[in-house]
Amino acid sequence: MEWETVIGLEIHAQLSTKSKIFSSASTQFGQAPNSQACAVDLGLPGVLPVLNVEAVNKAIKFGLAVNAHINQRNIFDRKNYFYPDLPKGYQISQMDLPIVGKGEIEISVGEMTKVVGVTRAHLEEDAGKSVHDMFNEFSAIDLNRAGTPLLEIVSEPDMRSAKEAVAYAKKIHALVQYIDICDGNMQEGSFRCDANVSIRPMGQTELGTRAELKNINSFKFLERAINLEVERQQDILEEGGSVVQETRLYDAVKHETRSMRSKEEANDYRYFPDPDLLPVEISDELLDSIKADLPELPVQKKARFVTDLGLNEYDADVLTSQKSLADYFETMLDGNEKNAKLCANWVMGELSASLNKNQLDIENSPISANDLSQLIARIGDDTISGKIAKDVFKAMWDGEGSADEIIKSKGLKQVTDMGAIEAIIDEIIANNAPQVEQFKSGNEKILGFFVGQAMKASQGKANPKLLNQLLREKLS
């Protein structure tokens, strides 16, 4: 039987506020255990939550960026369950009236593009961390993370393959960084994905029973975990069994998923509106001012790159796929706009290849955008050729200095002095009579030979355009 995979994602994006969502404790990562948990975070008797407006503003930003309906009156609820890293015995979240309602985002996989629905996005507080392997007899609790603001972004079950799911997750990942609401750091858990996966016979409209996959902390693992789960469900269904609705934990080391809890074991969270917090009222003015301050979104940037800079769709898409990449590219464009296409080629070509080879993020590139921009400018103004530029790039990568410094110290400046080039050409023509004859008898290809000889003689510094022009003149 042919099966169709149906995937919906729940993404938890940690909002990059300075303080927690309901207390003034810092959200900084990696501090000593429990050093960033105040009375409110510890859930002491009598303490009360006070909403951090920054978290609300960031959630609104997200909603506007995915063209969503913003619920201008939204409510915080209590989700009640007991766990040692949940100090109050309930998590403050949003159930019936989330801040962000229905929205959408476009994804592309290869040639295909499609729109994925965003069901909702709501604000909530994170729990603390339980550490089970630190002491023999005890579990340890670190409440530094407790109360960190999260935006839970729930998608429609619109994705039909692991690749689509990854494309969607990456789009959201890029978007939250673009609009500066989340640092996107997956290692530190600032951006986490849970996947709801089910399969159904191709053509069936009714959804199959789903499993929720948790503990996925990279896009690579997201793709693997989904594919693994699809296989597991296929095996079950093809053997005549039925899929159980459950939560499954992905183990990246063993490359397997295992059952965490089934629907029957699921908690009754006894949601009800938190009486300690008033409903959040968002004025038209606030909405308008956030809308006005919204930075250029990836989709807008891409369109601009195509129309204003003349880049092709593919290049524009790649360059806007990550904020850091787009930032780098745009920094290069400063004063170098006429060389936009060249800049794009270098970022996507030489720079990306070198970064990949060294497993570096663009943020950690040894060559800054400004330095690379200078190199491109030197190609653009004919100071050096593209070929020489690759050598300069290598030297820059190795920290030998800026483009101009390297060009100067290594004497790589292109020869544009007509007299000097003419002298070289004259000498080559004089020394290679047979080849001159071949050219004259119509062998155009032999021109390459003369170019090569001239370049060699000029140590690659002859301006190729000038060289070509003069060669043709002299040979004819």
């Binding site: 002491l44 009598g46 009360l48 009640n80 015995g89 309930y90 917090l277």
Partner: protein, 482 residues
């Protein structure tokens, strides 16, 4: 007049005139507390009190004092007090030394008051007789076989018994007004949002409100001046200016329209209480007020509504008491579930467990709409009744409690106990301010008159109460001492 018979206003005058020092009056109260068998205090903070008194005397000497400087009070043990045990009357928090001050505690400290100790109370403010305290029942100073009312029973007994000049209380369903009534003192539950709830251990967050328990309306105004105000740490506190509550005490109440809800004078109201309440109303008439019968048709649903809303909220509010970070933890738990189960089973008393279970049940899947949502709807209807009533009248009056103080141990059935708050619950559900003022005696036990005002009308209520106290001396009566 002995020191413990004096009001705040009188003590402040004496302090100013150097008739006595704060250290002297504080010692006087501490001595009386030591000799008392009312069980009004869970913790007596002698040393702290004496150092606060000394600091107050210094301020008085320097002339930087205010009217509350050096006045000793009893602080309900539901308010967190830094460095002092804060138990909420529960075994669960018997070992809890609060690392921080509640906003009310902080405000009273700022006002240079002297905290004598932490007053006894029903466990987590759940009760109407103060018999639900882990630290034992409090006795009514008027008759030590009787209950003082609850949940602020220790506070009421302390003021009535001359163990403190004033006290703090909290009122979720009547917990200031009912014990004030049964102990013959003045108690004010302000409008919801008037006083910060930060650091006040939550019972039912949407109903809880702190207020003063005093000898007179004037004293209540003085203490409310110190307690009221917006607090950025409490999102439900109102950004509303605090007037000087003493400013309008002497306004005339000529032309005041009093509403008497017929539902407050029906079956179940003790005859003796009814007589005293009606006598008080007549007193107001003689002062120039007019009386109008009104109806609060949905007040019949106040008890069922309250006993859904409050347990739902408390079932969640008390979840943090899990034996993990502070408070009571059972001996050698076998695993996490055992830790939770035994810590909470052993740490909480019967009434608290009952309400947690009612609340958890009412919030659970499949029951939420039928209970919680329905209760929210009736709560709105109850509020609407009051809105209509206040179109016609300035103040609503009636009994606080259907009976005077009953015998310790005499009410064993929880539902009968819940009836003790039948007249007080509505004001909490609507968020309105309410007062209890002494209005007479029935069988030698105090009877309180309840005043319910419109939102933010504390000044008006205090004015009405003060005018009554200018004409009557019920508030000056004190229990006989052996």
């Amino acid at each position: 007049m002995s020191i413990h018979q004096k009001t705040i206003a009188e003590l402040a005058q004496g302090l100013k005139d150097k008739e006595y020092s704060s250290v002297e009056i504080t010692q006087h109260y501490l001595d009386r507390i030591k000799q008392s068998d009312l069980n009004a205090f869970i913790t007596v903070t002698d040393e702290l009190a004496m150092s606060q008194a000394q600091a107050a005397d210094d301020k008085i000497a320097a002339g930087t004092n205010n009217i509350l400087t050096g006045i000793p009070y009893a602080h309900k043990d539901i308010f967190c007090t830094q460095g002092v045990k804060t138990s909420a009357g529960s075994k669960m928090l018997d070992n809890f030394i609060s690392p921080y001050d509640a906003s009310v505690s902080h405000q009273l400290n700022q006002a240079d008051t002297v905290m004598l100790g932490k007053a006894n109370m029903d466990e987590f403010a759940m009760g109407s007789s103060n018999e639900n305290s882990f630290y034992g029942a409090v006795k009514n100073p008027w008759n030590t076989d009787k209950i003082p009312g609850g949940s602020s029973g220790g506070s009421a007994a302390a003021v009535a018994g001359g163990l403190s000049c004033f006290a703090t209380g909290t009122d979720t369903g009547g917990s200031i007004r009912q014990p004030a009534s049964l102990c013959g003192i003045t108690g004010l539950k302000p409008t919801y949002g008037r006083v910060s709830r930060y650091g006040m251990i939550a019972y039912a967050s949407s109903l809880d409100q702190a207020g003063p328990m005093t000898k007179t309306a004037q004293d209540a105004a003085i203490v409310l001046n110190a307690m009221a105000g917006f607090d950025e740490k409490d999102s439900t506190s109102a950004e509303q200016d605090v007037p000087d509550y003493t400013a309008h005490l002497n306004n005339s109440i000529q032309g005041l329209t009093i509403g008497l809800p017929k539902e407050f004078f029906s079956e179940g109201l003790d005859d003796g209480v009814a007589t005293e309440v009606m006598n008080a109303v007549k007193e107001f008439e003689s002062m120039g007020a007019t009386v109008k019968e009104i109806s609060l048709p949905n007040s019949a649903y106040a008890i069922p509504t309250y006993y859904i809303v409050a347990p739902c909220e408390c079932s969640s509010n008390l979840s943090r008491l899990d034996g993990v970070r502070y408070g009571y933890r059972c001996d050698s738990p076998e695993n996490l579930e055992d830790l939770y189960l035994r810590s909470r089973s052993e740490g909480f008393g019967a009434e608290v467990k009952r309400r947690i279970m009612i609340g958890a049940y009412a919030l659970s899947a499949g029951y939420y709409d039928a209970y919680y949502l329905k209760a929210q709807k009736t709560r709105h209807l109850i509020s609407d009744d009051f809105k209509k009533a206040f179109d016609e009248v300035d103040v609503i009056m009636g009994p606080v409690s259907p009976t005077t103080a009953f015998d310790l141990g005499s009410v064993k059935d929880p539902v009968s106990m819940y009836l003790a708050d039948i007249y007080t619950l509505s004001a909490n559900l609507a968020g309105l301010p309410g007062m209890s003022i002494p209005a007479g005696f029935s069988n030698k036990l105090p009877v309180g008159l309840q005043l319910i005002g419109n939102y933010w009308s504390e000044s008006k209520l205090l004015n009405i109460a003060h005018q009554f106290q200018q004409q009557t001396d019920w508030h000056q009566q004190m229990p006989q001492e052996d």
